[in-house]
Symmetry: C2
Subunit: 269 residues, 2 copies
């Protein structure tokens, strides 16, 4: 039998899912994919994901690897998988990969995005995909603190207390907070149908984007909880550097809710 290695790219709305990893109860992305693939392969299969996203976390382009013997071309596999998966999990690409390819171990960098809605209300079209923070946030302070994270640091203060990794040192190559007008998801920019200025109280979306060689459990959400504490003025931007210096998890901000987090992209060697 010829074993082939495939790379799957998967997009999912995590709202009702228990996360990437198969659990005793509930639907996981890994479980749904393994079930659909086993049906095509005629035997149990194991799918490896680049990032083990938690319950409620979304993915624009999670990457997974799988080894199969079945001979369907990639586009047939993609169509068959999408026909059996629920609508909130879509296989957006399938391609042949080197035998050595492993979605997690071959990954060079991952991009995560966290979306905050800062204003009096959340658009119904963004409700599932943001953390709503009503109080005004100081974007400059948050951006200054976010910049501090770039480089190689010990992220122990941002590592879930239940987790015991070999090392808590990670390298971050981008860490940036930007802003854009809310209520805009379905409005092509500059479209004549954009809601009238003055007729709508816009909320502002704050988008935190971080790229790194690896992330600890809950690391992005702990960073965002800390950035929001800084944005609220509870701590100065320099607090972030102090936490990197010698912080414990209990010193940093709370873990931000899962629903604002997206795994955006995985880069490979």
């Amino acid at each position: 039998v010829n074993l082939r290695t495939l790379e799957l790219t998967i997009s999912y709305d995590g709202t009702r899912l228990v996360g990437w990893q198969r659990q005793a109860e509930g639907e996981s992305v890994q479980g749904l994919l393994e079930e659909a693939l086993a049906h095509l392969e005629g035997a149990p299969v194991t799918v490896h994901g680049a990032g083990r996203t938690d319950a409620g976390v979304h993915a624009l382009a999670q990457v997974a690897s799988v080894q199969l013997t079945c001979e369907h071309p990639p586009e047939v596999l993609q169509r068959a998988l999408n026909a059996s998966l629920p609508w909130d999990v879509r296989v957006v690409n399938v391609r042949e990969a080197d035998a050595a390819f492993h979605a997690r171990f071959s990954a060079r960098a991952k991009t995560y995005r966290y979306v905050l809605c800062n204003g009096p209300f959340v658009s119904p079209f963004e409700h599932r995909y943001v953390w709503h923070v009503r109080e005004p946030l100081d974007l400059d302070a948050m951006q200054a603190a976010a910049q501090t994270l770039v480089g190689t640091h010990d992220f122990a203060a941002f590592c879930s207390s239940g987790s015991t990794p070999a090392t808590t040192v990670r390298t971050i190559v981008r860490s940036s907070m930007t802003t854009r007008a809310g209520s805009a998801l379905l409005l092509p920019p500059g479209a004549p149908g954009a809601v009238q200025a003055g007729r709508v109280d816009e909320s502002t979306l704050l988008v935190y984007e971080v790229i790194g060689n690896g992330f600890l459990r809950h690391m992005v959400r702990a960073i965002v909880g800390t950035l929001v504490d800084i944005g609220r003025g509870r701590h100065p931007p320099a607090w972030m550097a102090a936490l990197l210096e010698d912080g414990r998890r209990s010193d940093a901000g709370a873990t931000a809710p899962a629903q604002g987090l997206f795994l955006v992209r995985v880069d490979y060697y």
Copy 2:
């Protein structure tokens, strides 16, 4: 008692709603607003909407008028309404209006948008807001047919057979079909986190936008069903003009599904 007239702007995700209008069963936008306002007013109130959107149809900026005696400032009313409404209905603005203002009768023009997803799969983030058409569509033919509708015409071929309006003549000032890359709702254009070219099979979103002085029951959805028949090559673009000339409802295309339709904007004199 001083009666004041208020203009409310409302955004809603119509997925689970029975539409704008109050029904015997299920939650309607009108019903939810009237209930929340009656609580503030201490008496029953009637809310008039600019457009009676059907079950499943969304609104970015529906407009409603209401007369109240209660003296809360507009921003207090907005906050109180949003605190009691479900997340899928948001009051995005409240302002004082002239006593003569009526959301429906004072309306000068309405803008509707219909979103088609044309490709092998639908992004989980767009699933609730598009009609998925798998077969390739001829955008040029659809755009040519869409243009035909601009002007004052008898739209009898696009009027729901259960409806008996005084006249089926309406004036359309814009009718246009444009395209944009799909899977892009949550991606700021040009962002470094945009999913890698080549790693994702993009679906294409086709966006139909129409502005007119008024619309018959199911008119936009009947137009879209007809445009899709033309895009599939079942009829030439000139079919649209022939339907305007002397079409009956049974001659035109089927009514497109509600979930792709958005009331985008209402203009007033």
